[in-house]
């Protein structure tokens, strides 16, 4: 047993602090808005130039001028604002965005993150990920703990090209929640039905507790 994609997104939603501005990455993070706890209001930033991102449109009302950073059609809210890309990354680089919830290919015990490139295989680009991890207040990574071969993606050091060094604060995986602390990772929580031994066995990184 472990968390599925929706359960990981629901757990990540508990990270959201009321009244903050948050950026959600592509993949599992896009599911997080479905699980925002009652009484918590967050404003979602889409780094292509929008604060106050609304849900996907109802069929027939799609607007080609209104998309999110994943190029999907979206909607606006009463408190939405639009701005250009330089302003958008100005607020990211300037530390105005409290938190980013992002996907990852690999995370290391010192908080290094790799999520943009597999040399020789996948050359798509970093998009806004490098700016986000360098600029936002807190970086939470949502990811599968192991790859399809069962090998750990939570490592002593990353093997893939880095997105940022020492930038990850918390990892939420299908197996549980870990924080990046002095000397390695600390287990904060186990996923439903996962034992500490199973989490440790799936983790290459140093666990300090």
């Amino acid at each position: 047993m472990a968390w599925d994609r929706n359960q990981m997104a629901a757990r990540a939603a508990l990270e959201l602090q009321d009244g903050t501005y948050v950026n959600l990455g592509i993949g599992i993070p896009t599911l997080v808005p479905n699980f925002i706890p009652e009484g918590v209001h967050v404003t979602l930033q889409s780094e292509n130039g929008m604060l106050g991102m609304g849900p996907f449109p109802i069929a027939g009302t799609e607007d080609p001028d209104l998309i999110n950073a994943g190029k999907q059609t979206i909607t606006e809210l009463p408190d939405t604002s639009y701005f250009d890309s330089a302003t958008s990354f100005g607020m990211i680089r300037g530390g105005k965005i409290a938190m980013a919830i992002l996907g990852a290919m690999e995370v290391a015990e010192n908080g290094d993150l790799a999520n943009w490139m597999i040399p020789g295989k996948l050359v798509k680009g970093m998009g806004g990920a490098m700016d986000l991890v360098a600029g936002v207040g807190r970086v939470v990574v949502v990811m599968d703990h192991t790859n399809k071969h069962g090998e750990s993606k939570v490592l002593k050091s990353c093997t893939l090209p880095l997105t940022g060094t020492g930038v990850v604060n918390r990892i939420i995986s299908n197996l549980g929640v870990l924080d990046v602390v002095e000397g390695g990772l600390k287990i904060v929580e186990l996923a439903d039905g996962v034992t500490e031994a199973e989490l440790r066995a799936a983790t290459e990184a140093t666990i300090v507790n």
Binding site: E62, D65, I67, Y82, D84, G128
Partner: protein, 231 residues
């Protein structure tokens, strides 16, 4: 001075040459200068370098200039939606300089503001930082990034008056203002040109000082990822 031209080809007349650096607005296929890109393709000009967040898809956006091999180099943050791009890049026919998205936007903005370089934390400790000057400020490391000074800017706005004062619509604004600012000459395509006085001066997104030539046209505005929810 008349800034309004009758067609995209006329608006680009005398501005295009081989080997030039063109800054283009747009994010994905949203807010791209689709009419000017088609006119650049038809002009046959080649060995172009594009500063543009993305490279379009195979048959739309900058993708149409990749098909005709008119592009030598891309300065972009994300190029994942274009198979022909990937083929040309992996075979060494196309140069690619990856820029973090915010760094690319700021490089354009800086160039347009006469700023030749700036320091940023973005990319420190990654491939992006290789070969760049590192400098410490208040105990943190930053890298030097250069302003982009383009030979030509091509952008798309929603409405402009005949003097080039422009308004963008929703997230189609994206890279258009910084791209417009960083070119020696900026050509803008719009959905509607109006007379001075018809736009509220307090609501202009890009003042006409940045816009040298204007053309009105009909836009396809293709949607890349049509996503909907149940009614």
């Amino acid at each position: 001075m008349n800034k309004v031209y009758g067609s995209a080809a006329e608006a680009l007349d005398g501005l295009l040459r081989d080997d030039m650096l063109i800054a283009a607005g747009g994010f994905g296929l949203c807010g791209i200068p689709e009419l000017l890109l088609a006119a650049i393709r038809d002009s046959g000009v080649k060995d172009l370098t594009f500063a543009s967040n993305n490279a379009g898809v195979d048959d739309f956006g900058i993708g149409i200039l990749l098909q005709t091999r008119q592009v030598r180099k891309m300065m972009s943050s994300y190029v994942g939606e274009n198979a022909e791009f990937m083929r040309q890049y992996l075979s060494g026919e196309l140069e690619l300089e990856f820029n973090p998205q915010g760094t690319l936007a700021e490089r354009m903005r800086a160039g347009g503001c006469g700023i030749p370089g700036f320091y940023t934390k973005t990319g420190v400790g990654t491939q992006v930082a290789e070969g760049k000057e590192h400098k410490e400020f208040n105990g943190e490391t930053y890298i030097l990034e250069r302003g982009i000074f383009a030979d030509l800017s091509i952008v798309k706005a929603w409405k402009a008056d005949t003097t080039g004062n422009a308004i963008f619509r929703k997230t189609a604004r994206n890279f258009n203002p910084p791209a417009a600012m960083c070119g020696k000459v900026c050509v803008m395509e719009v959905e509607e040109i109006v007379q001075p006085g018809e736009l509220d001066p307090d609501c202009i997104h890009l003042p006409g000082i940045y816009v040298h030539r204007l053309v009105q046209g009909t836009h396809e505005k293709r949607i890349e990822q049509r996503t909907v929810r149940a009614a």
